[in-house]
């Protein structure tokens, strides 16, 4: 859900249901890394409601697009983390079976 004024789409608040600090903090980080963003922050209005509000203000681009880009970036980051780990694990396993064989 998005709260935005019709006249100025560069400032907007997004209300995400069923999310918490996990996503909001990560998205805030990626948003902040984007030079188009002048302000971003999030809040959880009430602890017993599963909802976060993410505020995005940009230098002019529609906030919705910038948030989408941030999510896209976060996804790509995650993919990179995943492939890096896979590689590290397979390298580790390779090296260690080698060691095991040496000791035998």
């Amino acid at each position: 859900m998005e709260h935005v004024s019709y006249s100025d789409q560069s400032k907007s608040t997004f209300s995400l249901a069923d999310e918490d600090h996990t996503l909001a903090n990560a998205v805030r980080f990626t948003l902040n890394q984007d030079p188009r963003v002048t302000f971003s922050g999030y809040s959880i209005p009430h602890p017993s409601e599963n909802r976060v509000n993410i505020r995005v203000q940009t230098t002019g681009d529609p906030a919705r697009e910038v948030l989408k880009d941030a999510c896209q970036d976060l996804m790509l980051t995650c993919q990179h983390v995943r492939s890096t780990l896979d590689k590290a694990v397979s390298d580790f396993k390779l090296n260690n079976t080698g060691k095991d064989m040496d000791t035998k």
Partner: protein
Amino acid sequence: MSEVDDSMSEVEEQEELQRKKEENGSGLDYILSLESVPSKLPPRLEELKTRVFCKSDAPVHTDTIQYSGAYAALRVDNSLRLDNFCQNFKIELIRLTDDDMEFDMIGIDPALANAFRRILISEVPTMAIERVYIANNTSVIQDEVLSHRLGLIPIRADPRLFEYPDTTGTDKNEKNTIVFKLHVRCEVGQPRITVKTRELEWLPHGSELHSEDNNRDASSKPRTFTSFNCSQDSLPEFPKSPIGIKDSDIIIAKLGPGQEIELEAHAVKGIGKTHAKWSPVATAWYRMLPEVVLLEEVKDELAEELKNKCPVGVFDIEDIGKGKRRATVARPRACTLCRECIRGGKEWEDRVSLRRVKDHFIFTIESTGALPPEELFTEAVKILEDKCERVIMELS
């Protein structure tokens, strides 16, 4: 006339600039390629940005500077672009066993590292016992306590092969339920027995207990608490290793002579947010890499004193000739940040600086057994990706 000419050339200049920009890709790339833009922070600021300083009373400079324009006044770009991240990000595995793993994750912001940790603890699904049908329980442990104990037992079953139960919990089939049976009895005249998890028996065909159903006709098969269409061990997607209990020697209850427990336990898929029994990790935690810096040379007796101060042996002493000795930082990674070495007055704080590297995480995952730890981490990262995708879908 001359005025007009001037403005003409200005327009041309701008066009020229625009063209250059396009040649260099995005505008940002162009700006960064300019010689007058410094790309490095002054060393002191770099230190404050990348290190937490642990002083004797409190740590300082703990915040991460996330805003891309934080150093705009210094003309330093603080934005992180994906290609930069990919270049700098590293994972180094330290230890990997069947159920625990330690690795260094370098070049990532705490916001992301913490998201992974939170997801590992509370959002990666596992299977856990949710419903217990007690036919008989004459042991001293009450039904509800017994059920709770059963719920916390880690189950070795790949949760990715199962579906979440429907909300009413009435449709229990081979895709969403695992059934275990427990029937133990301590005969009169026997010594007391200890019931351990190895007594739990997997029922791949589903429940064997008959549900009370008054209006069934006598000829049909008696109804049970599940409706499996086929046996779970005949399903091709289930791996060769049978579903079971991870550890066979967890104590469930103790029975005295004449006491008996007969029950059936149904495990379903869930997440740790709902109940900790579904958490796939015993712990998932990280610490930042410690960095111990000697600000001045610590020699002879003082070096000896420093070495003896540290309970985990971070410091060593080396000979520098002419009978002189000097303290060195030999094992900074072992530092627990007890701050013992900077106790004893300001002079010690001036000698030793305790720091933490803000973007270097020593991540430890202990799995409870459903999935190996490296797969748990992969699953956690995937869940974060799914969350992003959901947001993108919602906004499109």
